[in-house]
Homo-oligomer: 302 residues x 2
Amino acid sequence: MSQQTVAVLGLGNMGGPMAANLAAAGYHVVGYDPVPAANEAAVARGVEVVPSAVEAVADASVVITMLPSGGHVIDAYKGPDGILAAAAPGTVFVDCSTIAVEDARAAAELAHEAGHRALDAPVSGGVGGAEAGTLTLMIGGSETDLDAVRPVLEVVSGRLVHCGESGAGQAAKICNNMILGISMIAVSEAFVLGERLGLSHQALFDVASTASGQCWALTTNCPVPGPVPTSPANRDYQPGFASPLMLKDLKLAMQAADSTSTEARIGALAAAIYTDFAFGPGRELDFSAVVQDIRDRSQSGD
Amino acid sequence: MSQQTVAVLGLGNMGGPMAANLAAAGYHVVGYDPVPAANEAAVARGVEVVPSAVEAVADASVVITMLPSGGHVIDAYKGPDGILAAAAPGTVFVDCSTIAVEDARAAAELAHEAGHRALDAPVSGGVGGAEAGTLTLMIGGSETDLDAVRPVLEVVSGRLVHCGESGAGQAAKICNNMILGISMIAVSEAFVLGERLGLSHQALFDVASTASGQCWALTTNCPVPGPVPTSPANRDYQPGFASPLMLKDLKLAMQAADSTSTEARIGALAAAIYTDFAFGPGRELDFSAVVQDIRDRSQSGD
């Protein structure tokens, strides 16, 4: 039985474990990352590392990219020295990076023009989900292209959701994460208001977790220690989902809102709040630590 | 077996069915409301209606108030012509109105000074919950006083949550509803942004309902028709929970934030958004109709 080759470009916190899981599942995984330590870790987990992205894609039928920004993806894809030119015709390019909807559409168009197939497939589930192979993948692109790589993606994903045509996966991710960022601030403001009214964290949790205030930000990632033992609040807000990553997603959402003239006032305020926080005290903390910022900003009262 | 007398003051959309359920459970229910139609409806459902609040409480061991504002509650309680003066010593006053935390504390203090017992017990669950006897009651006051009226309250409530001392029930309710109001705007902004990015309602729902954007506002009261058949969006946004009531709760939350110097920027913006909406197109609509307002305000784009 001939082994299918999958290229993975970007072997960091997310791409590294995804590549390792594919290797463990029996695929021939060829990887590339500009960071030597990432390459070393990947080699130790069964990935063949090569000196360039172009070499990585040469024999691959599927190319997974997990890169920091839309600019990185498009730069890697295009031009005579790009990976689209280097890959065999009909290769399926699966971009798992979280990037702007318009960048995702541009990347897919470049791939199609070069005779390839393309999906946007941003993930949720964090490093834990990448390690466990249980990421949720939000897919934009054709059903046919998705079906062609479904067995590969099922190795890294516990849930594949086909959201629509190119860019729809990115759209779903930023809309979801905009709700999440706003919810976390809402829950945090409620806990601080409760504190100042003499309401215990547990009492508010007991009411809201089973009432109309219930949300993932409260019941899974509860921003105060105690009610949800597994939430980052119980480990000094070590991420989890770091504030700068939440800021990145809120900025992508606001970029999309601007480009489509969408009124998103609460989203814009959430982006402003996370801008202050992620560049300030929240730089290395889980996004739920914004509760501390709200508490600090509230005056001592009387 | 002697029948316990419960007074219910305020026989409107909420107090009316609560009184009827108590009568159906075998209590002697004496009610009062300034609105004749409310009295007639109550009589038809087994409530003895009397011409004044003072007469209603004369033989009652428990007095339930369900009134529009803190001013109404305090006016009814105090003074030589008030119900505190008219009731037998040791009567338990249970205020189910949604009012300011400081008004709730003042009302309880008045009751205690008059030799009575007092709980704040705002409800959630709406008219449907009142009819079905399944309201959630958020209780502030002593455990002893709660235990004294637990059998009565269990007739109208599916869930009693003791939140702390006087005012804690009101605090829990406004904190919960502040999360709810913000969440609803967040979900609505996400749906409109998704629309303008070409993402279907169902695709966003499928992603967010089982991911980190999950919240009651999405999965129970979904603001767009389709994904959740029972949500008000499927019946032209007939309430449900009317926008002016959401605005009332957000204003109470902002009043509490102001009086405690709590930083609640997202809550304040949500209150501003619902102020525009509830006095404008949302006057008679469910609070989830705010999605239409966000859609209308978004320009047509290019």
